[in-house]
């Protein structure tokens, strides 16, 4: 009962806390001691109450003097990758005293695979994280080597920005950001255990060297490190990434707590020395002349010199070499059967499965401005190292290449994410959050998206606030998490545009108008960003208004519009209806002096999209509206699906395993039919009514008793009686 006290108390103070509005505490110049003091002063009845209550529990290691304050945090984030950094930063910015534990301080936000951020669907994730106040977009904007917009002519919803990044610079810049937050503490450590309280709530973590750190919220972002094992050919060693030790013991600890774990596999290609590559015969791939940005914050929009990528292809020698040595590869040699992703096949997979294709494209991407490494995209392999160089040298331009790092595959433990709710808190242990590859995803962007949500929720949870959930329809982040917690994963999950049912509404250009108000409410968007956001929206609105009212007749402009669109232009046509015509872009308005110079390029894009596709957008929205009402109907968490005889046996099993939170989620679980959903609806509704009836009767009864008691006993005693 005692351990319930802090929670209850903090709940009772919830309304009080309103008088201390929590803005992200960003006092980077202040020394740590000072900021900690100010932290104490600012929040007299918030988190400290929660923290100090642990002392009375007498948990291990807590009695020792001197450590008391330092070992207690509001949030502990385990792992310093892309999920961990976002989580830790979000949490710290929300005012939570946050500890980031990582195996190697020099590998913070490392990009172990492709040195790139963005691409279809992934770029939407980056924009969304940025709109919420996350870091990944700013980092990619700051450290890019090359930027390109993909799918430019295929529609506004699938337009995608991709940046090649300097991976050293990226890691260093992120480290600087992480280090400069006064609420964020970093420590090298290998976590081997999570500490659990009496009520199945998290209390902290234990490290390999026997340290205990305490916090009411813990975020695990272990990436590929949990029991990680890397393979080159037949040789393998325990490692999270090449050259970095794996994290051992945590899997077993989580299993002993009743978590189900499984294993996934992924890989990364070889790196070659760019000085040994002959680029003269290769097709260069330049960046865009007009650079686009991930972040909505213009402060990050600093153009830099761009580097070039190159395109080469596999040859018949490549194919022959692979076919001759198939039995040397893990998959076809048959000594590894963990599941690799379909969208990231090894070169041997490509050649075996697509026999007819004579050649496959291979991209050569620089990994940084100051390093000679080149990433050989599309060429990951499980062949032994002795064959890898020979294989690389079959590629045109790489005939004399020097290999710097061999390609390797990595196997690691993950926790099927049905064990998490959509806040990313585990269903079993209150206050324990999972994010990133531990949930079975792949990609920096997917990790960052989960990271920011778990960071926000970890901070909110430690403060006793309700956690937040992004609905599937609200964002790619919501879609990602909804898929993770409902669907059965058979391979690492990568975000794709086709996973979103209403992607026309989830565009890059409107990520801010979808999510920044939420970021502001949560407390991750400061006044400067908020002002920028509001003035941007105002400009867009006014411009749309202007276009609706300005009319043009005849002239050169009309003539060019007619040529471009192939449609006649009537007299007194509004600029709005001109913009609706096919192939007419805002640029054309600018060209003839009908544009608005106060608008930035991206704002003009917004105006153009809003006007041009208004009909489609409206239709999608009303379509969405129709399903949302039913889909968002809540399902109680303690439903006994096995007792519902109107459900099919299969769906009873699936539903009890996944435990969906809404009807919509339930309907997305494989094997649950529409008839089952109807049965579920009826069951829930009738139970709700039964419960209502009961509550009413109880209230009626207790109301009578309370009235009777009110005269004799003060209200406070009731509080105590409940709390103790």
């Amino acid at each position: 009962m005692a351990s319930a006290t802090p929670r209850l108390l903090s709940f009772l103070f919830t309304p009080l806390r309103l008088t201390y509005p929590i803005h992200a505490i960003r006092t980077s110049h202040r020394s740590r001691t000072l900021s900690f003091l100010s932290f104490n002063l600012r929040r007299p009845n918030g988190r400290l109450r929660t923290v100090s209550s642990f002392a009375s529990n007498g948990t291990n290691g807590m009695e020792r003097m001197g450590q008391k304050d330092e070992e207690r945090y509001d949030v502990i984030v385990v792992g310093g990758g892309h999920a961990g950094c976002e989580a830790a930063l979000a949490s710290a910015r929300l005012g939570a005293r946050t500890l980031l534990l990582t195996l190697n301080l020099d590998r913070i936000a490392w990009q172990p695979c492709n040195p790139a951020v963005g691409g279809p669907a992934k770029s939407q994730l980056v924009h969304e994280v940025d709109a919420l106040g996350g870091e990944i977009g700013k980092m990619a904007d700051r450290c890019y080597l090359q930027k390109r917009v993909l799918n430019l002519s295929k529609g506004p919803a699938v337009r995608a920005l991709r940046a090649q990044t300097d991976k050293r610079e990226y890691a260093m810049e992120m480290k600087k950001v992480v280090e400069s937050n006064s609420n964020l503490f970093i420590r090298e450590a290998m976590v081997t255990e999570v500490l659990i309280g009496k009520n199945d709530n998290i209390q902290g973590v234990r490290t390999f060297f026997g340290m205990d750190f305490f916090a009411p919220s813990v975020v695990l972002t272990t990436g590929t490190f949990m029991s990680g094992k890397i393979w080159v050919g037949r040789a393998s060693m325990p490692a999270g990434r090449a050259g970095e030790s794996a994290s051992l013991g945590l899997t077993e600890n989580l299993q002993s707590l009743g978590f189900e774990t499984d294993r996934l596999k992924t890989g990364t290609p070889a790196r070659v020395d760019c000085r040994s590559v002959d680029f003269s015969g290769l097709e260069p791939q330049y960046g865009d002349e007009e650079v686009s940005w991930f972040s909505f914050d213009p402060e990050c929009h600093i153009e830099r010199e761009q580097m070039c990528c190159y395109l080469t292809r596999t040859t018949s020698e490549t194919h022959k070499l692979i076919r001759d040595n198939l039995n040397e590869t893990p998959t076809y040699g048959g000594w590894v059967d963990a599941k690799g992703p379909r969208y990231c096949p090894s070169i041997e997979d490509k050649i075996v499965r697509f026999r007819d294709k004579e050649s496959h494209q291979i991209f050569l991407e620089p990994e940084g401005r100051t390093v000679p490494e080149l990433y050989v995209q599309g060429f990951s392999t499980g062949l032994p190292e002795r064959l890898q160089l020979a294989l690389l040298r079959t590629l045109p331009g790489l005939e004399n290449c020097v290999m710097l790092r061999p390609a390797y595959a990595v196997e690691y433990d993950f926790l099927p994410a049905y064990q998490c709710s959509r806040s990313l808190m585990t269903k079993k242990i209150e206050g324990l959050f999972f994010s990133g590859q531990i949930n079975g995803t792949t990609g920096y962007e997917e990790a960052a998206a989960q990271g920011i949500i778990s960071g926000i929720n970890a901070a909110r949870h430690s403060e006793g606030k309700p956690v937040i959930v992004l609905e599937r329809e609200s964002s790619y982040i919501g879609t990602l998490i909804d898929d993770l917690v409902t669907k059965d994963l058979r391979e690492p999950y990568r975000m794709l545009t086709s996973r979103s049912e209403h992607r026309l509404l989830l565009r890059a250009d409107n990520a801010d108008s979808r999510l920044t108000p939420l970021g502001r409410e949560i407390g991750l968007i400061d006044d400067r960003r908020w002002d920028l956001y509001q003035s941007k929206q105002l400009r867009i609105k006014e411009e749309k208004e202007r276009l609706k009212n300005v009319r043009v007749s005849g002239g050169e402009f009309a003539a060019e519009v007619a040529t471009v669109s192939g449609q006649p232009v009537r007299d007194h046509t509004t600029l709005e209806s001109i913009l609706k015509k096919p192939h007419v872009q805002y640029k054309l308005l600018d060209k003839h002096g009908f544009g608005n110079e106060n608008l930035s390029k991206c704002e003009k894009d917004c105006v153009e999209i809003d006007i041009k596709y208004a009909g489609f957008i409206m239709r999608q929205q009303s379509h969405l509206q129709q399903i949302v009402n039913q889909e968002h109907k809540r399902l109680p968490e303690d439903l006994d699906y096995y007792s519902m005889t109107t459900l099919s046996h299969e769906s009873r099993e699936k539903l009890s395993k996944v435990r969906p939170q809404t009807i919509g989620q339930a309907s997305r679980i494989g094997g649950v039919s529409p008839a089952d959903i109807t049965a579920l609806l009826i069951w829930v509704e009738s139970n709700r009514r039964k419960a209502n009836q009961r509550t009413q009767q109880e209230l009626l009864r207790s109301g009578a008793t309370d009235n009777h008691m009110a005269a004799s006993s003060p209200t406070d005693s009731v509080v105590q009686a409940t709390a103790i």
Binding site: L8, E471, S498, N629, S686, V718
Partner: protein, 546 residues
Amino acid sequence: MASSLIRLLLPWRQPKPHHLFPFSLNPTKTSFLFHLRRCQASTSSPKRLILTQDERSKGSLSTEREAIVGSGTIAAIVTSLGGGPAAVGIVRISGPTAVAVAGQVFRPVKRWKEEGGCVAWRPKSHFVEYGYVLDNDGNVIDEVLAVPMLAPRSYTREDVVELQCHGNDVCLHRVLRACLEAGATLAEPGEFTLRAFLNGRLDLSQAENIARLISAKSAAAADSALAGIQGGFSSLVKSLKIQCIELLTELEARLDFEDELPPLCLPSLIDKISVMRHDLQDALDTANYDKLLQSGLQIAIIGRPNVGKSSLLNAWSKSERAIVTEIAGTTRDVVEANVSIHGIPAMLLDTAGIRETDDIVEKIGVKRSEAAALAADVIIMAISAVDGWSEGDAKLIEHIVTSQKSANQAMTAPMILVINKDDCKPKDLLVSFEEICSGLFKKVVRTCALTGAGISELEKAVLEVRGLEPISSAGRKWTVNQRQFEQLLRAQEAFFRLHTSIEEQLPMDFWTIDLREAALALCQISGDDISEEVLTSIFSKFCIGK
């Protein structure tokens, strides 16, 4: 937006819902309980955020309706079917757009006359209106009473419109079909009751019964989902579905993996789409044809008095169904007779001769004749060979055409000119007025009602003008149920929009929206799920990835 977010995020800023606790008389205790309850809720249940509305498109959505459980507007025949003709049958429409759907099919007589039927129907709740139901092409299907019951004062607590039609299965099905075409979906068994229950209308004891009913029926439906589809139809749907998924695969793969794939060949893609659209149209035509086979044709025989309409009916139906005299205006009411035209059921309607008259009874009869003509699938205009093409005939046909037009009938029923009493005049004289009216009539047939000559030619002409072939050759004949038809219709609409998107040169991403919808509709028929199918297909078909 911001204020709604505040409400979502910070529930404690909401005014305290004191009304939730009508029994507590102690305010301190109320608020304490209230906090406790909310705190429990906040730990066990995460806060939900519906952020689908982005700030830029604010206000474009209709205001959110609460407590509507069903996702759309449903329609069904709620009176019993198949148990012999009843006097009245009811089609019920329920859901958020019930009024809009009803407004599309229903034309109140009063308004129709006054405003030409162009204004959206704005019914007053619980006030009965009299009018016509029109189909997609604007043909009158039936005269009905519409009973609007607006939310929440209705059975389902949603907007409900009930159309009271004539109790004839054919009529009812046609009215229902019109509702489906106007955007309603066919109600599942027990769905009205389900909605009533979920919207808090029925009491708890009824819940179990509904559950049992629905689980039993849906199990049966699931079993027969594919089994019920006959060979030809099922293979057509399957091949269309596969083509849809193939196209989606091609498009989606290029959206997600742009630089790893060769560019699309757009012209061939567009060709494929138009072929599919054509196939789908064929399927729908066949379904329509099939529907006609089931429900039968309505053939109205009109004409001036005393040209032998009743004799024609008698001769055709080989009965003495109608009274035949020499007196003009003998038939005063609509006389029906059933015949079978090469296996297709048809109902002949003999009508009062249309003329200006002072006789009250005959006047009503004339009105009915006009109504019958408006609702018929085929109109047979009878004239007498003795009189030739008279001025009266010209007036009459003009009258019919204008009334058809005023009923907003986009596609009028085909008309056949029958020159009766053929035995009384030499043929060569008739050629002239065949020419006069060849624009109006699809066919001209000479008959002699007395001898029965020309009846078989007339039957052929009827089939021909309706585009019906006698059911001899198999292959094109399937039975499509209402639900399958509805999905075919959805798919066709999606294809229509896809076609417009292509014509307007919208970017590729927009094509996928309607293609996906078409695929979804087709999958509903065969009972599959496509969500993962496209992805699987992308990965198996294309070599993608690092």
